[in-house]
């Protein structure tokens, strides 16, 4: 019976909490926000970080000149990195590999998973272009030995080779490999690896800040009604719904 | 001329408060391979009864206050074969274990009641009542107090008609290697007495064997 009373007590307390949710009006909210100081240099750094990480090299260069914000990385390396990324995105994997190796030979030598994924992408491109024989030879000579070295590679390799077994690849269970998203996936993996090798964060900071904002709003929703930002692209404050 | 060995009073060996408790001295008679034989008195109000008991020490780890072995009960009523159990012992060394059991359904009162049945315990009683004996130094005490808890039946099933729910309060004497004990189990008859003597299996002296784990 004591348990019963305990549960009742708990229910009651949650109820009072939900009814006693604090309401913050838009005016109050804006006033509070105005009191928060953000340094301009910090904003500029965040923008620069975004441009650099995402590879907008010309914009970064311009932004540097206009705002005087120094990028935390040699801008020349961005050009190289973007060239690699573009090569993968346009299906020119061999070219991408050579470019990565010119940038830093350690990247692919010490990252077998990335190397495998690039080779896998190369195979996918051969299949896409209908070069069946070449694809088979490539799988045999270049990829099979990697599969022997690692069980999970073998499974991925088998999945990829399965593409050859279907007449209509667009409608086969492994068809997703031919999708453009597969190229993008590989491209972003290379991009991240290059950034890491340059001791740079592989993700820009701005998205994390926005994620943090959404999470914080969700937490706050349970305790208060307040002007919320629902559309991140406009960052408009919406009146609290009561 | 007969040699007289001075028997120092146990009381004088109980040292002062707050000394770092030392590991009790190893006793060769309590080392692995040693055997003991005797009886367990299982008398109840209705009947006088005792069964024969053999004990063998199988493991000993003084640093952790650990001792283990087997106990074999012969002429057990209603059992066709001797019943062998494996037990694990806690040595009351103050460092690892105190006189208070703190489990197995034994209250400090039960503990004191049972320990007090050993004469050798009387010099320690007052201090144990205060703090469970935490401030005692037993490293030079000529008796070793232990709790033996049976863990499983070795050669019979749990349906053998015997229970191992309880445990033994045990006292070992350095001077002659004798072991006395009392079985405690709220659901069994109280104060079943265990009396064991060190054996030497038809030899004219004591013999030793040992193993080393890798």
């Amino acid at each position: 019976m004591s348990l019963f009373w305990f549960v009742v007590g708990q229910l009651a307390s949650t109820e009072t909490m939900s009814t006693s949710k604090k309401v913050i009006t838009r005016e109050e909210w804006e006033k509070k926000l105005n009191d928060v100081k953000i340094r301009k240099e910090d904003m500029n750094k965040l923008v620069m970080n975004f441009l650099v990480t995402e590879g907008y090299v010309e914009a970064a260069e311009k932004f540097r000149m206009e705002s005087g914000t120094e990028p935390d990385i040699d801008l020349a390396t961005i050009t190289d990195r973007m060239a690699v990324k573009k090569a993968v995105q346009s299906g020119n994997v061999e070219d991408a590999i050579e470019k990565v190796n010119d940038l830093n030979p350690e990247i692919l030598d010490t990252n077998p998973q990335l190397f495998f994924h690039l080779q896998q992408q190369r195979l996918i491109e051969l299949i896409r272009n209908g070069k069946v024989e070449e694809a088979l030879e490539f799988a045999q000579e270049e990829l099979a030995p990697r599969g022997e070295e690692n069980q999970s590679f073998l499974e991925e390799l088998e999945r990829t080779v399965a593409l050859l077994a279907f007449e209509d690849v667009s409608n086969c269970p492994v068809g997703d490999l031919l999708d453009i998203s597969q190229r993008l996936k590989t491209a972003s993996e290379v991009n991240a690896a290059i950034l890491t090798s340059q001791s740079h964060e592989k993700d820009p900071k701005l998205p994390s800040l926005l994620k943090m904002l959404i999470w914080a709003q969700n937490q706050l929703d349970e305790k208060a009604a307040y002007p919320r930002i629902n559309d991140l692209s406009t960052a408009a404050l919406e009146d609290p719904s009561i | 001329m007969p040699v007289r060995v001075l028997d120092s009073s146990p009381r004088s060996q109980i040292s002062g408060v707050n000394q770092i408790p030392a590991i009790p001295p190893a006793c060769t008679l309590l080392s692995v391979g040693q055997t003991f034989a005797g009886t367990q008195n299982v008398s109840s109000l209705q009947k006088d009864e005792a069964w024969r008991v053999n004990v063998r020490i199988q493991g000993c780890d003084l640093e952790h206050g650990y001792l283990c072995g087997t106990m074999e009960a012969l002429n057990v009523p209603f059992a066709d074969t001797p019943v062998v159990t494996f037990w694990e012992g806690e040595i009351v060394d103050i460092k690892n274990y105190t006189f208070f059991t703190g489990k197995w359904e034994a209250t400090p009162e039960d503990d004191v009641k049972h320990w007090s049945k050993f004469q050798s315990f009387s010099p320690l009683l007052s201090q144990v009542e205060v703090d469970g004996g935490k401030s005692l130094d037993l490293s030079n005490y000529p008796f070793i107090f232990m709790r033996w808890k049976e863990q499983y039946f070795v050669n019979v099933g749990t349906d053998c008609g015997l229970t191992i729910a309880g445990f033994y309060y045990v006292c070992f004497s350095f001077s002659d290697g004798s072991i006395n004990g009392f079985y405690y189990d709220p659901n069994s008859s109280p104060f079943q007495k265990l009396e064991l003597k060190s054996t030497n299996e038809g030899r004219s002296g004591f013999s030793f064997s040992s193993y080393q784990l890798q």
Binding site: E98, D109, N111, E141, S152 | V3, G205, F206, Y211, L213
Partner: protein, 654 residues
């Protein structure tokens, strides 16, 4: 393939490396580099074709231009990456000094390439060592450390991590302010940071003096704080290296780890790293094993952090890489080495069959690690008493390992076998029935002392509480003369185990004592010789227990012991060996010796009074009397027993 179609077959490319046209050379170099990066098979192909010396020639050619230097250095680095034979070939090709030379090239790209390439070489144990007590080497490393080029400072840290070994070198580096420079690298790039953590570990290893000095007045809160901070780093490799560095500090100077309060932090970091793919996850179990080895307190902490559960979980995963598999087994073996709770959990998680299967693994290291794991698991007296391990599922694969091509695996397999041999049940007979004894005895005759020791150890445990049949079957195979020679083995530890074996052999039924006298008393003579001459304490103790066991026999047995411990009157007396042992400062030897006297004067024997007289005349009883207040309780009460027995015969001396 397009590459081969264009005449890019390895043989042709190799040819072109020696072309007079530098453009052709460059193109071939670049092509080879791109083929071998990330591709082990290709590396081996080109190494076989002799490409490495040709590349080395290019890097060594003063006429080469920057692009040629960059490409050749990169290719050499790749050859040296991840393949031992590659490192060997690169070093043999003479490329090393050339790479060092171009470190001071004007072109930054060349410097980068050669520094990277050299760092690959220094990742390997085969790389040459620098001697920091040598001024020239020291100046060189300092010049690298002072470089503004990230790759070069990183190389410097790698060289230190690889080369620094002696206390003298550690001190020399510290005296030159290298620690501070490395500290600065901790705030640099990821690679600089990782390399400097590696170097720290090398400089601090086993050097508590240096650690204290570096830690300074606040016990390292300030100086070592940044390393502790890195335990929370985003990169698993950095977290691992920071852990290794702190473990090294803790092992050399435990108080500092305590002061920094990182002991409890390290365990969860390492346990979490087990989840990581790649190198950090492969190394984590080894680091964890090293950290908790022999430390019960840390094993408990690891247990509380669910380490056993996690390790077992990974063990269950199919197709674990051999290296990681080995690490998982080793970590489990350390965790289960002392605590029964860990062993219990291991059993509950039902992974024993995986460990047993690992005994048949292709990798020598995995087989050994599986043995170590089983050795820890079989340390439970509780399980041994239940006969849990005495079955063919475990014993058969273990015994097969006694014929393993690798001696270290044989030795490792004898570990769990020794433990299982203790088995307290009649099941013990399986050792004889399955021919296991035969295999073990074979190894007890090995020329190599490691398997010999472990084999004798296993036999000693097998002999423990063995029945008459068991003893007989072991002795038939072993023979008394082999046993006698093992008692006098050149290795002290083997002597000790052999004497333990004899103790167990003679214990039990009184007939067993006859073994000591068989074949003209081979055994008792060997034992007596050791008791008289051995300088090792453990050997003396075991030897005295053997004599004590014999002295528990009949009149003839007792007399034989008397003859060995008291010199005949004709020899002019002297201090009997038993008296010197009774006077030992080690209580265990005094105990063993006193037992011998107790048995010799045992009241059930008829001639006890004669022996008491003899002992008294030799001064032994006097010695015993002087021991009535021995500080060791065990000795004190045995002395009492002995003296009481003497009194019983009414002969005790005045």
């Amino acid at each position: 393939m397009p590459a081969s179609a264009a005449g890019n077959r390895p043989e042709e490319l190799c040819e072109r490396l020696a072309s007079v046209d530098s453009g052709v050379r460059l193109k071939a170099l670049r092509e080879i580099k791109n083929q071998i990066i990330g591709n082990r098979t290709k590396k081996l192909t080109y190494i076989k074709l002799g490409a490495v010396p040709r590349v080395a020639a290019i890097v060594g050619d003063d006429d080469s231009d920057a692009p040629l230097f960059v490409q050749s250095a990169a290719a050499l680095g790749s050859f040296a990456c991840g393949v031992d034979i590659g490192v060997k070939t690169v070093l043999k090709s003479g490329a090393f000094p050339h790479l060092i030379r171009i470190l001071s090239n004007q072109d930054e790209k060349v410097v980068d390439a050669s520094a990277r390439s050299l760092r690959m070489i220094f990742q390997s144990k085969l790389a040459p060592k620098y001697d920091f007590l040598n001024r020239k080497d020291m100046d060189f490393i300092l010049s690298l450390l002072n470089s503004v080029n990230e790759n070069v400072t990183e190389l410097a840290a790698s060289i230190i991590a690889h080369s620094c070994q002696t206390g003298g070198e550690q001190k020399a580096l510290s005296d030159e302010g290298v620690l501070q420079k490395l500290m600065n690298l901790l705030t640099g790039s990821i690679n600089q940071r990782d390399a400097s953590l590696d170097a720290f570990a090398a400089i601090f290893r086993n050097n508590s003096e240096l650690i204290s000095k570096f830690a300074g007045f606040d016990n390292g809160r300030k100086t070592l704080g940044p390393v502790v901070e890195l335990l929370k780093d985003k990169y698993p490799r950095t977290r691992l290296l920071a852990s290794v560095c702190l473990i090294v500090i803790g092992q050399a100077s435990p108080c500092h780890l305590e002061e920094l309060g990182v002991k409890t932090k390290l365990i969860p970091v390492l346990v979490e790293l087990l989840e990581e793919p790649g190198q950090p996850g492969d190394d984590a179990p080894f680091t964890l094993a090293n950290f908790v080895a022999g430390k019960e307190e840390l094993q408990k902490l690891a247990f509380d952090a669910n380490a056993v559960e996690k390790l077992c979980k990974f063990l269950r995963k199919t197709a674990v890489q051999p290296k990681r598999f080995e690490g998982l087994l080793l970590a489990l073996s350390e965790l289960c080495s002392k605590l029964e709770i860990c062993r219990n959990q291991f059993h509950q998680l039902q992974v024993l069959h995986i460990v047993i299967d690992a005994l048949k693994h292709d990798s020598t290291e995995v087989r050994s690690a599986a043995c170590y794991c089983l050795r820890s698991i079989t340390r439970s007296v509780k399980s041994l008493s239940a006969g849990d391990f005495t079955n063919e599922t475990i014993l058969v694969p273990l015994v097969q390992l006694l014929r393993d091509p690798s001696t270290s695996v044989q030795v490792a397999a004898l570990g769990p076998l020794s433990n299982i041999a203790v088995d307290f049940t009649p099941r013990k007979a399986i050792f004889v029935q399955c021919g296991i004894v035969k295999e073990i005895i074979q190894l007890s005759k090995s020329m190599d002392s490691a398997p010999r020791l472990n084999a004798v150890w296993a036999l000693r445990n097998l002999m423990f509480l063995s029945d008459k049949m068991g003893k007989e079957s072991i002795l038939i195979e072993l023979t008394l003369s082999t046993l006698a020679s093992l008692i006098c083995d050149s290795e002290v530890s083997i002597q000790e185990q052999a004497l333990g074996l004899v103790c167990n052999l003679l214990d039990g039924s009184i007939d067993s004592i006859e073994y000591a006298f068989a074949e003209d008393g081979k055994i008792i003579k060997a034992v007596a010789r050791q008791v008289k001459n051995a300088t090792n304490l453990e050997v003396c103790i075991q030897g005295m227990y053997v004599l004590s066991n014999i002295a528990a026999g009949n009149e003839l047995h007792k007399e034989a012991v008397m003859d060995h411990i008291i010199p005949p009157v004709s020899s002019g007396g002297g201090t009997p060996i038993i008296t010197s042992h009774l006077r030992s400062s080690d209580s265990r030897l005094r105990t063993a010796s006193t037992w011998c006297i107790v048995n010799l004067t045992h009241p059930t024997s008829t001639d006890a009074s004669d022996r008491i007289a003899r002992l008294r005349n030799a001064g032994v009883i006097g010695q015993i009397k002087s021991m009535v207040n021995d500080p060791c309780l065990d000795v004190k009460f045995r002395v009492r027993t002995a003296l009481e027995q003497c009194t019983t015969f009414g002969n005790a001396a005045s």
